[in-house]
Symmetry: C3
């Protein structure tokens, strides 16, 4: 792919910021401080990478006012180098275009309404009555269930499943292998065996949501499972039935969220964390990786519960005492009383 080069002056005209050094410097791609070379622009968003800036072979760099004088490279000075970089990179690396139309191998159900501006790739199956909006791209091997709806300018990478009746908004990205709308895990114990409870709710995905590879979001048991706008879900996340995730919340890989839990807006949840069912998590809550949240959180803030690792022998020597921690606390209490008593005798 041939790339167009832009001068720092061009870039600043488009995205703002102040150019220092040669404004005619041409760049055509983004790179890291460490690996960028001629024609690439790097960025410094974190003071701990300043050393890399010194040695950088980049043609130019994006940085904050505070760092403006730490280099002599041609540079763009701005308020938020990281989001500046994001915008510039999106400009230099537009998403691949997919021509509108339905591939000859796709199978389209009765009464499906597919915009003439949508792209339906090879081996896709679209169920009866499904609806797909303009600008939406459905790549190879996806399966869209009966009466499901995909909005506009949404992009499904290969092999995504959307079950019947689910609704995916506009400008949504879903990565390969994700499953939206499988049955929630609901059953009743009856006479020595399990009875399946029909899962008749849907999944509703808001606008600008991104869903990672092999993530699963179950349909609701009776009401719907809801993912609000601008939620970002990494890979291999499990969202159970009737969960509700508030707008702008970001969740890292391998997190599991049990049924009927509500997560607030603007939350950030670390990798492999978990939240049990039927809880409420307030807005602006941060949860550390590997932490299980076992009761509702009503107050914004950062929460953690991680067993600290150590060398195996050390861990073993310490962990063995966890099973007697309650007893240890009692022994300390006894000691405290005895000391008090000894001190008492003396006075």
């Amino acid at each position: 792919m041939e790339r167009t080069a832009y001068s720092l002056a061009d870039i600043a005209a488009r995205f703002g910021g102040q150019v220092m050094g040669d404004a005619a410097t041409l760049v055509q791609q983004i790179g890291t401080l460490e690996k960028a070379g001629k024609g690439q622009i790097a960025f410094l968003a974190n003071a701990k990478y300043r050393k890399q800036l010194e040695a950088s072979q980049a043609s130019a760099v994006i940085l904050s006012k505070a760092d403006a004088d730490t280099t002599e490279l041609p540079r763009i000075v701005c308020d938020n180098p990281y989001s500046y970089f994001a915008k510039l990179s999106a400009f230099l690396n537009p998403l691949r275009d997919y021509a509108p139309g339905i591939h000859a191998t796709a199978v389209i159900g009765k009464d499906a309404r597919i915009s003439p501006q949508a792209h339906i790739g090879p081996q896709v199956t679209v169920g009866d009555g499904a609806s797909i909006g303009a600008g939406t791209v459905v790549m190879a091997g996806c399966v869209i269930g009966e009466n499901a709806t995909l909005g506009e300018n949404t992009r499904l990478y290969p092999r995504v499943t959307v079950y019947h009746d689910c609704v995916v908004g506009n400008h949504v990205i879903v990565h390969s292998g994700a499953v939206i709308g499988a049955d929630g895990f609901g059953m009743a114990w009856d006479d020595g065996r399990w009875l399946k409870i029909p899962q008749i709710g849907r999944v509703l995905i808001g606008d600008h949501v991104e869903i990672g590879a092999n993530t699963t979001i179950d349909r609701g048991a009776l009401d719907d499972t809801v993912i609000e706008e601008d939620v970002k879900l990494d890979n291999q996340i499990q969202v159970a039935h009737n969960v509700h995730i508030g707008a702008h919340t970001a969740i890292a890989g391998c997190v599991g969220i049990a049924g009927s839990t509500t997560i607030g807006k603007y939350c950030r949840i670390g990798g492999s964390a978990g939240i049990i069912g039927h809880l409420k998590i307030a807005d602006h809550v941060e949860i550390a990786s590997f932490t299980l949240i076992g009761k509702s959180i009503t107050e914004a803030g950062s929460y953690a519960g991680i067993y600290p690792f150590s060398k195996n022998d050390e861990w073993r020597n310490n962990a063995v005492h966890l099973r007697h921690l309650g007893e240890l606390v009692k022994r300390v209490k006894t000691l405290e009383k005895e000391i008090e008593s000894l001190k008492g005798e003396k006075t």
Copy 2:
């Protein structure tokens, strides 16, 4: 979809229970106490939702004898409202019918035996010698390996893979993205690199099993991996080679079970729990979410091992001492001796 309405009298005639209030009340769908409206019947299976019952707009409600007088709504009184609800919901929400036949885009191998009463959807691949029973539905994009067997009235949602030689029973449900029969993780260290060990066992899935989206069940190394009847597996569970799961056991999402472990019947395992390899877990064992089982469990009961979460600062201030817990125990022991000695001196 137009729905049929049933009177409470009709329903009680079919499913038992005692009608109180107007037995001619018509309902056509199930709903939650909170959201059900006209034409919907809700249920009360847990005393903590009694407040919701007071405010419910449902046309009728299912509840236990103990709660029979807590509302004036038309109602069905029964022994187990939750399983009553499950049965009624299954009646009101039958699974979608799929017409028998093989879709024109499906690819069927040599000597495959497919019942004329089976439904094979678009883009499905069925390997040589595979066998698919009557009433079984294989949805779009599934891949059934060579000589694999699917029983009767089994339902595979889109994009399920069943590897060669594996056996899936009757009335089984498998959700999208599940993989049955991939190679177990077996290799020998040899001369500075890994040697793959062929995985020549199969996976055997009993009747009435349900398998969640993106769950993986590996084939055995030499003997078979076995899932007994009525086992319920949620999404994103990993079952390693030669695991054996006993009948009626239910396992929540994201659990990992390592190789050659045997799990008893009637167990319940919480989300993101783990069990290491070569263990035996007794019948009727409950394992909490996020708990790693590191040795065999011979006695029925509930087991847990979860690090309690707290505010990040608190967690940090406490967790740092875990690396010195053994030392703390020694310090307490020393104190106890010194106190004894001080007390001794006194007498």
Copy 3:
């Protein structure tokens, strides 16, 4: 499938080792000590299975010099019975052959270069400009992105996705549902919402790598994500963008590795473990199951951080004190001072 039988003499001639007992004994398949019968050869690689050897019905057995006299069964004595077994099993159980050629239902993009010795299965999609080497098998429903490269003698089981531009080496095995090259989880916070950061790096997979079912490996943000040769990844592992995994490292199921972390060579990581982002893990490090690694490890060795499980009540009684562990340590320190002071008063 009819099997060929080989005498112990034949086998020793091919794979080495010393035959004891009747060298004309014929075997055609491998089995476990417990279940092998006539015509099967078992192996003893771990002294704790000696009891099973006594009762074994196998026709022959593979064992080490140390165990050579513990049975009278015909046997092959060798240095490493486990790798001997692996080699013999691979010989007796060759991978299924797939005839070269492109299935009529596969969709092949413009300028794709597919070796005439490659097998492209049903419903496969190969993107424009992709390249697939000789002896490589791409099974049903796989999707190979634009300009992606698969080397020689590589095997993709059904429904694998390789995104555009990614590179998979030679003799690689990828199991069903794996996703290679989805976007890393990168975004910048900007003006009250998330901005997506284009993920323009690739995934590079070395030779002889095996990747388990539903494992996901994200493409790099700017530079590439790298999996070196002979790395073995089990099922449902999540490898984030710009991770680098050194040669011969083996990782068990459900592990999550966050962005930009480098893992050394010859490491072994247990199931459901995690490693946070931007760390360096030395060569020859072992990490226990369920352990979160929260800072870099510079020294080879075994590391763990697992909460020990116990009966639920016990766990609860002990765990409650973890939230006050810092306070407990202070109380012990106070006691120590008071004891010192009491002892001091006495002298």
